[in-house]
């Protein structure tokens, strides 16, 4: 059974739903999938100061499924966690992938700008490898908050001078267009949707931080099921309480992401529905400042006594 136009149209239909696009776009998305599948958009995936959470999240993709992603949509030329090749063979793949000019570079993890020895691959610093890979790529897609903005490795008083990819590449004469998909981890639909749109060529409207508006255009709070509770000021005061979590520290009102509409893990749940505050994991400021706690019930009492 080979890949037919019909299969593409079927999968494209699922993606349309995923992306919130008009059905008119069906033919265009099918074409995009076909471009990916025939290997016209090879993907090189690099991991810097990462936890692999974004790679794990990609494997949670619903439609297309992870197996379909690997065998139909992505030409995954190099991925440290999935590549059969190891050692010299893996380095060979990496160098081959770098010769491919149409490559899309996906980056997971922060860049230890202040301590290149903090991330090494094949005796080369990740910093140098990243620069080589970004130059001449068709696009750079930063997945997860670490790659976008530094994330936890880039938090206040970190020891490695960790930054996001865009900060690192700034002033290094890299002309490649960059896209940022923050989140801790990134949602699989945000990666898949972005890659699909990318190969269509430039039809991916983004904001000033390079975030695709399709996923990051609205505030979590605006579509939150607790919005009505917020309006009547019915607030939870302790974790596990009923009510809107705003007073506990929920960052839904300042976080741009579509979690409240999309849900996580195939829509079975998401943070706020499960009673957890939104920790703002998709915000550029996520985990950056030590005086900005995620839960605020310990606050007040601490402010006077800490120095």
């Amino acid at each position: 059974m080979s890949i037919t136009r019909r299969t593409f149209l079927k999968d494209a239909g699922l993606l349309i739903g995923l992306l919130g696009l008009q059905p008119v776009a069906l033919a265009e998305v099918a074409e995009a999938l076909e471009l990916l599948a025939t290997g016209r958009a090879p993907v090189l995936w690099l991991q810097g100061q990462a936890c692999s959470g974004c790679s794990v999240s990609l494997l949670n993709s619903e439609s297309p499924s992870p197996a379909d992603l690997l065998t139909r949509y992505l030409s995954l030329y190099f991925h440290q966690t999935l590549a059969a090749a190891t050692g010299v063979a893996a380095q060979g793949c990496l160098e081959q992938a770098l010769k491919e000019e149409r490559r899309i570079l996906v980056v997971e993890g922060a860049v230890p700008a202040g301590m290149p020895h903090a991330c090494m691959l094949g005796e080369e610093s990740f910093n140098d490898l990243l620069l080589r890979s970004a130059r001449g790529a068709q696009a750079v897609v930063n997945v997860g908050s670490c790659a976008c903005f530094g994330g936890i490795p880039g938090g206040e008083e970190n020891q490695t001078g960790a930054v996001g990819v865009s900060s690192f590449l700034k002033g290094k004469k890299v002309q490649t267009p960059q896209f940022s998909l923050p989140g801790c981890p990134v949602h699989p639909a945000w990666i898949v949707g972005t890659l699909m749109q990318l190969v269509r060529g430039g039809s991916l409207p983004t904001d000033e931080l390079g975030r695709p508006r399709a996923f990051y255009g609205g505030l979590l709070h605006d579509q939150c099921p607790f919005f009505a509770k917020y309006q009547v000021q019915e607030f939870a005061r302790h974790p596990g309480d009923k009510g809107c979590l705003f007073k506990l520290g929920c960052q839904g009102p300042i976080t741009h992401a579509d979690c409240s509409l999309r849900g996580w893990n195939g829509g079975v749940n998401w943070c706020v529905r499960a009673g957890g505050v939104c920790v703002g994991c998709a915000r550029p400021e996520f985990a950056q400042h030590k005086n900005y706690p995620f839960y605020r019930f310990n606050e007040g009492e601490t402010e006077g006594s800490s120095s």
Partner: protein
Amino acid sequence: MTRMVIDPITRIEGHLRIDTENQGGEIVDAWSRGEMFRGFEAVLTGRDPFDAPVITQRICGVCPVSHGIASCEALENAFAIEIPENARLQRNLILGANFIASHLTHFYQLSALDFIRIESLLDYRGSNSTLNHLKGWAEQEISSRKILPVAPFLPHLEGDYPKDQKWNIQALEHYLQSLEIRKESHKMAALFGGKMPHTATLVAGGVTSSVQADVVENFRTRLLRVRQFVDDVYLPDVQRAAELFPAYRRMGAGVKSYLSFGVFDENGHDFLPSGFLNEGQLHSLDLSLIREGTRYSRYRDGAPKHPSVGVTEPDPEKEGGYSWLKAPRYGGSACEVGPLARLLIAAHHNVFPLTQQLRRLGWKEAELNSVMGRHLARALETAWIARRMEEWLDRLRGGEATVSSYGPSLSGQGEGLIEAPRGALGHWIHVEKGRIRRYQCIVPSTWNFSPAGEKGDKGPVETALIGTSVARESQGLEAARVVRSFDPCIACAIH
């Protein structure tokens, strides 16, 4: 004597390099080198203590739940917070689901390609539509002018892959099926955890999600599907791999000192108990015996310290420092941690019927200390935990509290000890004036992938590599098989 460098070791979590010295077709010395440092402990210092479960889960995208729970337990220990029964059960269920996802991913996505001849796919003549799709894809790739056809499945290192066509094909099919099953187990974790990876509901004092009957049954349905795969597919696949690679039922023998902190709290008793098993003798844990050294690590030197007073001061170009991992020791011993350690310790406590299970499967207990022994222990444990999870589900009580109430907490010292999928995990916290003054973690892969200790004594994986037979033209396949049997998570190990 020839030097072999395997860098990077792929199909693991994180950045690992292995150097070996080989002589007469055998590895005679080995160095395990962790290559990525982030410095979580410094990022945690000075924060509100209740941030810790959110931050520390992000140490690892593969086993976030164990970090989240260890961190909650450290806070509860520091501030004398009790947790309700519903919270204990929900934590066990979220963690159990994380164990299943982690173990399945480890065998199929990370390890199996070492034991499959992928090219067999091109000879497939059957009628399975998934496999025919895969074959069609591979043929199309090979006939295309792509630089790397059939990536990420090819190329792979040359080696002794099996000729058994049935195994090769079936294992590939199961590789694809397991992707769906591991996703199911993430959905289970998300039902009580909010999302995976990196859950939202683990807080000091409990779990924020309430107990709803529909969610419980949603979880149960998925669990049944997962259990079926574990019992009918995963366990038989590990058995078949062990039959096809009998040499690996001996190779990769480790240090024979095993450590477990115990996990799955059932009202004060761990379903999988703690202990230190040394040369076949079981001892109860004495945590004061733990020390972490840095002699061969890329940190400033100092006497080995207990984690409650540990420090993390990077020295990236330190002479003689060959890894970003510290070197933990228990009473001076390097210890193997993980599913094998847990099952051996549970068997010594008479709470796991190891002898009976091994007899049924045709294994000798001595064979467990090997590459295939570790794979088998992981599979047996997955089945054992998955079965128990139904009982935890039954004990959940709708309408009852899932979080205890407590006031602001400004000072204290605590430890959170648990088992992650890869082994013993400890978090140590010191809080002063409502801020974290010190935070230290010793993570399972820190134990297993430890560099040499103060006296030059090798870490467990280094020890397991020594004596491994390697083909003359080897580029590291045999060594990689040994390394992967420990399920490395290097982001965790260094953090």
